[in-house]
């Protein structure tokens, strides 16, 4: 399907697009030329302080590539995981009466693996902020 669509387009003459192509080339060229021209022709004062990264007035010290603790990520990702699972509870809660006992059992079956996962992270000490 996609193939026939593409063939149809390529069968039409390519000259129609030449104007658009020229305009695009002109527009890009103009932007490029202006940027190069202003950068080279404009006056500049280069100082060491100006070259520094601006950090809200705080003096920037050292390398930004510091190793930092994984526990922020871990907590965040665990939160996201359980948060997403909670979303499935909303439709269940809305339809609680219609789904009845079977629906309740199904939901229990859904939560059981989640609970096992929770046990796992608890036992692994993933939620223990001090020891991690």
């Amino acid at each position: 399907m996609l193939n026939s669509y593409l063939n149809k387009n390529t069968m039409e003459s390519n000259v129609d697009y030449l104007g658009i192509l020229l305009q695009m080339a002109f527009a890009l060229g103009f932007v490029g030329l202006t940027m190069v021209a202003t950068h080279t022709l404009g006056p500049k004062r280069r100082t060491a302080q100006k070259a520094e990264a601006f950090e809200c007035g705080v003096e920037s010290v050292g390398n930004a590539r510091l190793p930092f603790s994984i526990k922020y990520f871990l907590t965040a990702i665990l939160f996201v995981l359980f948060d997403v699972e909670v979303i499935f509870f909303y439709p269940w809660a809305v339809n609680f009466k219609e789904l009845g006992g079977i629906g309740y059992l199904k939901m229990l079956f859904f939560i059981a693996p989640l609970f096992l996962g929770y046990l796992y992270i608890l036992k692994k000490g993933a939620l223990n902020w001090e020891k991690m």
């Binding site: 996609l2 193939n3 096992l116 046990l119 796992y120 036992k123």
Partner: protein
């Protein structure tokens, strides 16, 4: 289907065993589960010639044979991993679980009949490997290996996805059978839509990366050297078997008649891969790096099996893969014992092995002879079968290159052997005893001998 279920459940259980700190139970339980998976794989109920689960997976002889080899090699690696994980590893349960999950991914990949399932399989195979490669957390090299493997692997995944999208765009289906009949509906593959061909080529690029063949082999030496030895041998054997099986499945079941168009490409890449692998291996000092390049070279030999795919059985490749895996496992097992006592992973570290451990040396020698392809060992039969088939398909030039490469291979495999017989400066190597280690090694070595003398034991039973 059964081994997939067994190993998945066993993997989850293993994680809990690790979480509840039952370290003693972990390995026996995992071994038992792997044995159960191996048995259930061979059950007659497991065999099914029609695709299951809405045409997603098919457990025919092809996938069952590949699964059997993968599970068996995993079993041996797990037994031998005892030495490596004896006193270390706080996350032992998780590591074993990742092993099992990876095998599950390999089985899904080999058994898939749908591009989506196929992609899921390749990811389940790879993601545990990314983690396992970096599992030695305090080793910088291991971290580097994990990161490199992850970045390059996910990059290549993008290629594969784009290929799948293009194939889907032209065919309108992910199903292998549908794609196959789409290819059949054209008289010759020249008439196939360009986008379809590009898509197939992109998927093949992902394979060439996964089997670490040239020109996408650059990741493998660094990753293999950096990752823990047990993981390295797992990647070089089980993951590679899965990648080859998946490639076969794709070429055979999915694009079928079109796969012959790629014969010349595979032939050139095979020649390139084995030459690069062997030439680079000549100058390595680290045993792991040498084995990594040897694994690249072997990928080249194995790629010869992709030529003229439609007329030949897939047995030879699987046989070669099995034999290569066994030899590789033995080599790494010997490496582990030496590394433990010497602390050095270089080839020179093998010195003095013969004085203290004649049995281990014997195993190592036979493994190296098999890798080099010396009769009567199984490596010879594997190479012979692959070469004969390539000649039959009219690729004599490729066989000449392959033969020259085999000679090159003998050079560096024998270098390893020679080091084992040289006397050590500091007296014989002392290696602590680990239960069942030598027994498994000897059994593997015997398997190499028996498979080499009676190859029909393998080719006959299917």
């Amino acid at each position: 289907m059964y081994p997939i279920i067994v190993l998945s459940v066993a993997g989850i259980l293993s994680m809990f065993i690790g979480a509840f700190k039952l370290k003693k139970v972990a390995l026996p339980a995992v071994l038992l589960a792997t044995l159960a998976a191996f048995g259930s794989n061979l059950l007659p109920q497991n065999f099914n010639d029609t695709p299951l689960y809405s045409g997603m997976l098919q457990f025919d002889w092809f996938s069952i044979r590949y699964a059997a080899v993968m599970i068996a090699v995993t079993l041996v690696i797990l037994i031998l991993s005892r030495r490596y994980y004896r006193d270390a590893a706080e996350h032992l349960g998780d590591i074993y679980a990742l092993f099992l999950f990876s095998v599950v991914g390999g089985m899904i990949m080999v058994g898939s009949m749908n591009l989506v399932m196929f992609f899921v399989g390749i990811e389940i195979l790879s993601i545990p490997l990314y983690i396992l490669a970096a599992s030695e957390r305090n080793n910088l090299l291991s971290n580097e290996a994990g990161l490199k493997y992850f970045l390059l692997g996910s990059f290549i995944t993008v290629f594969m996805l784009l290929g799948i999208v293009l194939v889907y765009g032209t065919v309108g289906s992910f199903d292998f059978d549908a794609i196959n009949s789409f290819v059949h509906s054209y008289n010759s593959s020249d008439e196939l839509p360009m986008l379809f061909k590009v898509g197939v080529l992109l998927i093949l690029v992902a394979f060439i990366f996964k089997i670490s063949a040239a020109p996408f082999h650059f990741w493998s030496p660094d990753v293999y050297q950096g990752s823990p030895a047990v993981i390295m041998v797992f990647m070089a054997t089980v993951a590679k078997t899965a990648a080859f099986g998946g490639a076969y499945r794709f070429l055979d079941a999915c694009i079928g008649p079109m796969s012959d168009d790629f014969s010349v490409m595979f032939a050139v890449l095979a020649a390139l891969t084995m030459s690069i692998g062997n030439l680079m291996a000549l100058r390595q000092d680290s045993l792991k790096r040498l084995l990594a390049f040897s694994s690249v070279a072997n990928a080249g030999y194995l790629m010869m099996g992709f030529i003229g795919l439609n007329e030949k059985p897939t047995d030879t490749t699987l046989y070669y893969m099995l034999v290569y895996s066994i030899a590789n496992v033995i080599a790494i097992a010997v490496y582990l014992t030496v590394k433990e006592s010497q602390g050095s992973g270089s080839i020179a570290g093998l010195r003095g092995l013969y004085q203290s451990k004649p049995l281990l040396t014997f195993c190592l020698v036979l493994a190296m002879l098999s890798l080099a392809g010396i009769p009567p060992l199984a490596g010879f039969v594997g190479k012979y079968a692959i070469f004969v088939e390539a000649i039959r398909d009219g690729y004599a030039w490729l066989v000449v290159i392959a033969a020259i490469n085999s000679v090159l291979g003998i050079f560096y495999y024998f270098r390893v052997m020679r080091a084992a017989f040289e006397p050590a400066e500091g007296g014989p190597v002392q290696v602590p005893y680990v239960l069942g280690y030598s027994a498994v090694l000897v059994m593997c070595t015997l398997a190499l001998l028996v498979l080499g003398i009676f190859p029909n034991l393998f080719f006959g039973i299917w």
